[in-house]
Amino acid sequence: MKNRISKRLAITTLIVCLLVWGIPSTFAKPHEELTFEPIEFKPPVPEKRMLSNGMTLYLIEDHELPLFNINGLIKTGDIYDPADKVGLAAIFSSVMRTGGTMSREPDALNEELESMAAAVEVGMAAEYGTINLSTLAEDIGKGLEIFADVLKNPAFREDKLELRKQQAVEGIRRRNDNPIQLAWRNFSALLYGTDHPFGWYSEIEGIESITVDDLKAFHTKYYHPNNIMLAITGDFDTEPLISQLEEVFEGWASAEIAFPDVPTVDPTPKPSVNYIFKDLNQTTMLIGHFGIKRAPDFPDYFALRVMNDILGEGGFTSRLMREVREKHGLAYMVGSIMQTSYYTNPGEWFAYSQTRTDKTAEAISLIVDVVKGLREIPVPEAELQRTKDSLVNSFVFGFESSAQIAFQQMMLAYRGFSPDFLETFTDNIAKVTAEDVQAVAQKYLHPDALTIVTVGNKDNFDRPLDEFGKINEIEIAQPEPLPAEPMPEASEADMAKAKEILAAAVEAHGGLEKLQAVKNLVIEAQATGNTPQGPMQMEGTSYYVYPDKFRQDLKLPQGQMAYVFDGTSGFAITPMGAQPIPPQVAATFKDAVFRETLWLLPNLSQNGIPVQYAGPEEVAGEPTSILLVTQPSGEMLRLFVSDDTHYVVKLSYRETAQGTAVIRETYMKDYRDVDGVKVPYHVVQHVEGQLFSESRVTRATLNAELDASLFQEPE
């Protein structure tokens, strides 16, 4: 990918001629007597061009349908994730699309694309990134403009990054739900270890630490025209299109890219037998070892293709399928995969099966025997011929659409396949002998050095798995929620100072006696919620019954809602009826009552709850002192007490649940007297530094007559 000016590069002409005749046989079955016309097919050949900025293009004009497609490839990948931010590249790729561009808000971008039935999507694989455009031919101009905008000017908006991180955390929380995913994660981690990106998987902490600056840096590092190839197909004319491309990418200069070193895997096999408990009636098993690192010159490729097809990649006719499923009924899904495309490090080879628990060992043995068989005994001629025929005859399916042809050509170049790879493919397959297959089986399959991962319930296994080696039992923990923020060490002086500040606050809010007389508080308020769709007006009434009951009634545009917490459990009343609230959400209500200042101040001053002073800070220009205290949930609460009025003018705390956390800040202003105690009439909430809601109290009532039914679930 040298930076040359629009130089036309001749690409090897590709002609696929398929000549398949009837197979002569002495004992012919009816289908064996059929003869077939030879197919002569010249698939279109992509034209290779280069833009003035160094971007490589593979173009095929195809006027069958009024469609237009670009499949782009960027040299980057998950392999460049930093060790402490695993998942960065994947999150980068999705926020590159969802975060909009410098001139297009995310909603506007979505609306623009979908209203013309077009799509721009960005993706990330281990050793490359992708970006695609699909549009109607009538919208090529607009489509190209948006495509270039996303590629050049992604904005990585903070809120979209935050959303994507939350989704990633949820994915981590759910990663043990599916046995295949569970087995796979552990298999690759065992194989590659903790020092290699192929063995890494995301953890909550790493995801949490990803910032907008990280995404921008990733973009700046890899997304330059000289590092991008585009396969372009559909209903267009090449020369005008090239001009359009030059135009939309104008001013985007190429740049030197220093690709980080990817750690090199130690290919020594580390065989192990691993077991993960999951109480299921079927065992998911992965059995394998390192596979192949792709080199530009790779003569074993064709014998390997044949061998892999015979072993387990050839679908219903492969040996694993035949033995394990068709002859023994021990699986529905069974097969093997050898990853041969990685260029930085060896990929993995593995066989897989899902088999009833009480046949686990039998299935493993059967799979290992099939692998051994390929090494020990030459493949019978008929099976070899069938497999080669299959590869040669189905080769044409690599050329079904121009998009597929152009993409394939681009991918082969990216991975360093020789330029005549496709042209010579069928000949090379035809040359493979039974000896070749056995030789690659012996070279690349190692049934004596297997990493075995099983997920299931060993109580029901047919035999213990130690016949395959010493068993390593892997404990799987549900990714835990973030631990509560620890209270800092406090000195005697800090504790004493806190007491002083607290006493002044109690006095300022009405004095201990008046505060202790408050048994309940009803707040009626008008609020404006800040939603992505714009401000949302709502009315609400909150009931605090000390020490621990809480109810909030909300009038929203879409109907009325209520959240009720009776001190131990809670429920929500929606337009569709009442539904229980899970304990972890109910716990946040407990904290909400705890934080209510008319209760909090006397509670803290009288009940021996440790409070410590943590220094001064200005809140909206007003000097305040910070007090720290632990809430019922264990999360720390920061109170900001005005040095002047001694009112609590701000609360700050972290809300966490199941691994995600947001900082909430509540600003309390306009304190007014209500029956001798002080209540803030203007409350503004920020979440993660962004305005979340603003409410103005219309009425505050102390010690109201409250009906017990308020906290009872309606019929």
């Binding site: 009816p30 949820e170 046995p179 992505p532």
Partner: protein, 506 residues
């Protein structure tokens, strides 16, 4: 079936409309043979390949209580060969197969006694069965039928069973079309359902893989069983474990005989073909299969739902949510309106579910599909959601209902309609770019809607829908009493429950 509807919505719902619909209408060639077999063809010369598909209007809905799972089981069995393929000598093999059936039946009956089964007798029968299976191996050529296709360069050789139909799919180099006609007609005329009990074990593994070990699969099975109390749409396609355990060759052969008739099927061939030669080829191989009286339709009608139904499934997994509302099937006008509603709710990043639920962080995904689990009979508008913690299924459910309330009270903006209609028209063009995709779609609509032109009428109807239609349909169907709600709940502790593994398997 569900995939097809989904396809329709995602892809059809993804242009120059009239021109593209007209283009499709002009390109489909129809031919009906004297035996009732309907053949649809599209000639596409982009590559020398062809996708011939056959659909039988025979799905799990056509089963009886004692044959539940047989439509799917038969689909598996039709890959086992014929009287000439898959065998070295069918006459000799046939005698052993009869013996296997006899022992297998006795074994199934004994095992079905459960805890009262005679263990010695079971062991003895198992041994006898094993012996006969070993004898049969002398004559059986396992996998030969599949091998022939594979050797000739097939791709996508497979089949699928839905509640409504069973479809047999393959793509081949276009010079191999006659091979397809020969092999397919051979299995319709001379199928041998050999290796039955081994395949039945593989089907049990399929059930474990799709249902027992998959939180989503498990929840769906229980959800759909709750949503339908009378109509067979509530039954699992693959069958309950105890149903699968009692399936046999006789039941499969009977189902085959009743349902696999030329006048109960649709054949679609898309690709590099010559139309006249293709008609002649199909006539030559399939023309002599006699037509027969059609099996009766399901007459049970799901009674009107009289109140919300809620079910829970405990599983070692994080929560999931499924919601379904009963509604009429095609070609009721409301069904078109519900297709529109589904697009408004969940197609793309401009959709309401995405913007108001996913982007709000309440759920990681929320999807809607109109027309679960089938389309031959009245069905469900289906919604599934995956909450994002700390949000729960309660929050996701409330957020979904808020969107339904909006549909009932706020007219849909012109802009939303226009966007969806543009995507529908684009879908017509995009669909034409895949032989296999076109074959599947034409087979489905010809087989299930009774006429592939449904696709054209669908587009016209979508254009007719007004904001008032959306409000009125939303009010009619999205009611509390008309819905079933299923939630997957995390099992608090998962003790090592030892002995539930089937004692009654071979």
């Amino acid at each position: 079936m569900k995939q097809i509807r989904y396809l329709l919505i995602l892809f059809l719902a993804t242009l120059p409309g009239i021109a593209s619909a007209q283009n499709l209408a002009d390109r489909v060639v129809e031919h009906t043979f004297p035996n009732g077999l309907k053949l649809l063809m599209i000639k596409r010369d982009t590559s020398p390949t062809v996708a011939p598909y056959i659909l039988f209007k025979a799905g799990s809905v056509d089963e009886a209580d004692d044959t539940r799972g047989i439509a799917h089981m038969l689909e598996h069995m039709l890959f086992k060969g014929t009287q000439t393929i898959g065998t070295k000598n069918y006459e000799k093999e046939e005698r052993i197969l009869a013996e296997i059936d006899r022992i297998g039946d006795a074994l199934d009956m004994e095992r079905a006694k459960g805890s009262r089964a005679d263990a010695d007798k079971v062991a003895e029968l198992e041994k006898a069965l094993k012996e006969q299976q070993e004898l049969a191996k002398e004559w059986i050529v396992t996998g030969e039928y599949t091998e022939i296709y594979t050797q000739h360069g097939s791709t996508g050789f497979n089949a699928g069973t839905s509640v409504d139909y069973t479809i047999y799919t393959v793509e081949l180099p276009s010079n191999k079309l006659e091979l397809w006609a020969m092999l397919e007609s051979d299995r319709l005329k001379n199928a041998v359902l050999r290796e039955f009990y081994v395949e039945r074990d593989a089907v049990k593994e399929e059930r474990r893989m799709r249902v027992d070990t998959q939180p989503g699969g498990k929840l769906y099975e229980q959800f759909i069983a709750a949503a339908f109390t009378a109509h067979p749409y509530g039954m699992p396609i693959i069958g309950w474990p105890s149903d699968i355990a009692m399936l046999n060759r006789r039941k499969a052969a009977e189902f085959f005989k009743v349902h696999y008739a030329p006048n109960n099927s649709v054949m679609v061939i898309v690709g590099n073909i010559a139309i006249d030669k293709t008609i002649a080829l199909v006539e030559k191989y399939f023309g002599d299969i006699p037509s027969q009286p059609l099996p009766s339709e399901v007459t049970t009608v799901e009674p009107q739902q009289e109140g919300e139904r809620r079910i829970e499934v405990e599983f070692d997994a994080e929560p999931q949510l499924m919601i379904g509302y009963h509604k009429p099937t095609i070609p009721h006008f409301d069904d078109y309106v519900l297709d529109m509603i589904s697009a408004i709710l969940s197609d793309g990043r401009t959709s309401r579910f995405y913007k108001n639920i996913v982007e709000e962080g309440i759920a990681v995904s929320v999807d809607s599909v109109n027309g679960y689990p089938g389309a031959r009979y009245d069905n469900l508008f289906f919604i599934s959601g995956t909450p994002r913690s700390p949000h729960t299924t309660v929050d996701v459910e409330a957020a979904i209902y808020a969107e339904f309330e909006r549909l009932k009270t706020e007219p849909v903006a012109e802009k939303e309609f226009k966007r969806i209609l543009k995507q529908i028209d684009a879908g017509f063009i995009r669909n034409l770019s895949s032989n296999a995709g076109m074959a599947r779609q034409l087979a489905f609509y010809e087989g299930i809607a009774g006429d592939w032109r449904y696709i054209l009428g669908w587009r016209e109807n979508m254009y007719k829908i007004t904001p008032e239609d959306v409000m009125s349909v939303a009010k009619t169907y999205f009611t509390k009493s008309n819905r079933t709600v299923g939630t997957l709940v995390k099992k608090e502790d998962t003790p090592s429950a030892g002995n539930e593994v089937e004692a009654n398997e071979q």
